[in-house]
Structures are given as C-alpha cells and as structure tokens.
C-alpha cells in the first residue's frame, strides 16, 4: 500500500472525470454543496441520511449498504474516488465505511472540494444518473472499527489518539467551533489519550501532509509503534481522517476508528474522564 494507491491528486481527478470504471462520489453532511456544483459525473452520498440507520445509532447494515450502492450505480469492480467538504472529513469517513464493507478499490481526492475550488477547477450542476448495479458487500471488517468496551480496555494499554481540537480535548468546548455548543454529555477526554488534532495531518488547502511529516507528527506525539491504536473524535468523522493517515498512508497496522467517539464516551455512566487545565 502506498500513497498513490489510496490518494489521487486534483490533476489526476480532472483527467479521469469520464473514465469508465471510475466513479466519483461527493460525501457531505449537508449535500446542498453538491447541488450547487459538483465534479462532472459525480454522484452524491449523504453522510447522515444514507450511511446511518434512521432509528438506531449505528450504520446501515450490509443489505442496506448493498441496496444503497446498487441504486447509486456503483459496482464491485469500480474504482470509487471520494471527495467532499469539511477538509474531506465525511469523505474520509465514507472511505473507512467502504473499507468496512470490503470495497476493493477506493481512493480519496487529496484536498477534497476545498482544493478543487481554490484551484478554480470546473464544477457542474448537471444531474447525474448511473444505471443501477447489483452490489455485493462483505461482512463488516471489525479489525478497523472500535467499540466502547475495547476503548475502555485500551486506557493505559494502547495508543488512544484524540483528534479533536485542543479546546475540545481540554473540555472547554463540546464540539467544533462552527457548531453551537449545547450538549448533554460531559466534556473532556479519555484518560491516557494523546491529543493530535486531525488538522495537523492536513495542509491549509486540505491536502494531506507528506508521509515524512505525518510520521514525525505521530512519533513526536508519543504514539508507541509497538502498540495498537484507536482514534476517536466527536462523532467519528475527523478520526476517520486520522485513521486514513495512520492506516492507509503510513501503513500502520492495527489502527481502529472509534465511531461512537466522544458523543458516546462522554455520555457513558461511570467511565473515567480527564480534563486539562
């Protein structure tokens, strides 16, 4: 696995917009950005309404994922190139999700919508429809997904990487500062977690930093390469970005994303929480 296998440049993307077998997928929390302009031929995926179960707090199941991808016209053999807003947070989340259900060839567009827009590359409002497929997913690969009991057991034992902003880590904020701060859960972080904000893995234009810079970042933060790692944030999307950096770009083994993240952990009764001054 190397960077070229999992990350494509904006130049590559622009040259491959119409390439058969390559499907561009825009993933956002708010899909109105897609509706105002998207990469030519790209289909849209709504993080909240299409990837989350509408009732239980969990993902859509294997059958629902198969139905979703079939309806979007994505085949098992297609190369899926994901991109989105928010510095690719939700695109990275979808990347992890596609891997969870065993999609073979999936890539991220480096820099996502932001770099594309800052480069003044073309966007279109043209509607996209692709013929339906018969998509077959694999069972969830839980080697990349952490659940709460594993996270509690990992305190003091494994690398816990909290990728939220320093203020959220310290317990001064509950959420990223573009969201209102009301919340019912407790603020703080999981004891023994180190704070490496996701943004340290990205350049200002949303592209990932180089492998050397990323290696230095996590080494300096004190991640022990001999231990397994669990990354978390507030709802699991920013930690997908860091999971991508550690597992896909740097090739670290045994890295899991805790998608329950702080909105679950910070609401659990009786678990230890640390705050910083």
């Amino acid at each position: 696995m190397s960077r070229a296998d999992v990350l494509v440049t904006a130049d590559w993307a622009e040259q491959n917009l119409g390439t058969p077998g390559v499907v561009f997928v825009e993933v956002d929390e708010d899909t109105s950005a897609y509706d105002k302009g998207h990469l030519a031929g790209a289909v849209k995926l709504d993080w909240k309404t299409e990837l989350q179960d509408p009732v239980r707090r969990d993902f859509v199941d294997k059958g629902q994922f198969e139905a979703l991808l079939s309806a979007k016209g994505i085949g098992n053999d297609d190369t899926v190139v994901l991109y989105g807003g928010n510095n690719n947070w939700f695109a990275a989340y979808a990347y992890w999700y596609f891997k969870l259900y065993g999609h073979r060839d999936v890539k991220l567009l480096d820099g996502g919508r932001k770099k594309w827009e800052l480069d003044s590359r073309p966007l279109t409002e043209e509607a996209v429809s692709r013929p339906a497929t018969q998509y077959a997913a694999q069972e969830q690969d839980t080697s990349i997904r952490a659940f709460r009991d594993e996270v509690i057991a990992a305190i003091g034992q494994q690398n816990l990487v909290d990728v939220r902003s320093p203020d959220e880590f310290a317990g001064r904020l509950f959420a990223p500062a573009h969201l209102p701060q009301e919340a019912s859960q407790r603020a703080g972080h999981i004891p023994t977690a180190v704070n490496v904000p996701w943004s340290k893995a990205a350049n200002e234009d949303g592209t990932f930093k180089s492998d050397d810079e990323l290696r230095k970042l996590y080494a300096d933060a004190g991640l022990d390469p001999s231990k397994d790692t669990i990354a978390y944030c507030r709802i699991g999307e920013r930690s997908s970005h860091t999971w991508f950096a550690l597992h896909e770009l740097l090739g670290e083994e045994n890295v899991k994303n805790y998608d329950g993240s702080w909105t679950e952990y910070g609401s659990l009764v009786g678990v230890p929480i640390e705050k910083s001054s």
Binding site: K114, S165, R172, P176, A177, H178
Partner: protein, 102 residues
Amino acid sequence: MCGAPAQEETLDRTLPASVDPATQAIIQGRVVRDGDPVAAAYVRLLDASGEFTAEVVSSATGVFRFFASPGSWTLRALAPGATGSVRIEAGLGFTETRLEIG
C-alpha cells in the same frame, strides 16, 4: 456584489433558540476583497497557538460565524488567488470583524 449595503454592524444576530449568547463567544464577520463581500471563501478559526479549531464557508454575502470560547483567536480566509488573516479578542456574546483578503 458592488454596492452591497450590509456591513459588520448590520450582520444578523439571530441565533437558534437553543443557543444562549451569554454562555459562548460568537465570532462573526464578513470576508471582503477590494471592498466587496467574498462568497464561498474558506474561513478558518485558529486558536491562540495558531492551531486549527474550525472552518466554515462564507455565505453569498461573505458572512461567517463561529461558536467559541472567550480568548484570542485568528481568523484566516482562503479564496482562489487570495488569502488574509485578522487577529481578534473575543468575549462572551458577539464579536464582529471584517476579514480583508488580497
């Protein structure tokens, strides 16, 4: 966008009902280039150490808003071919600023 009358002092202060401005620092403003509002700029909120805290895309009239805690912040905007930054001190309630890029 020329001649758009709205300036910082006329920014909307309507908040969702669940948000109490007495408990948070609401930082808002407008991205401006050569006197005109800049839509769809990427506006980043950086903390006192320069660390990224949040990012929003400016509205059609160049407006952005963050919900933060009191303290020193830097706002930085990126648009095709132009960037700019401004440093602010924010207390509880509204803090408004103009963010020039060029």
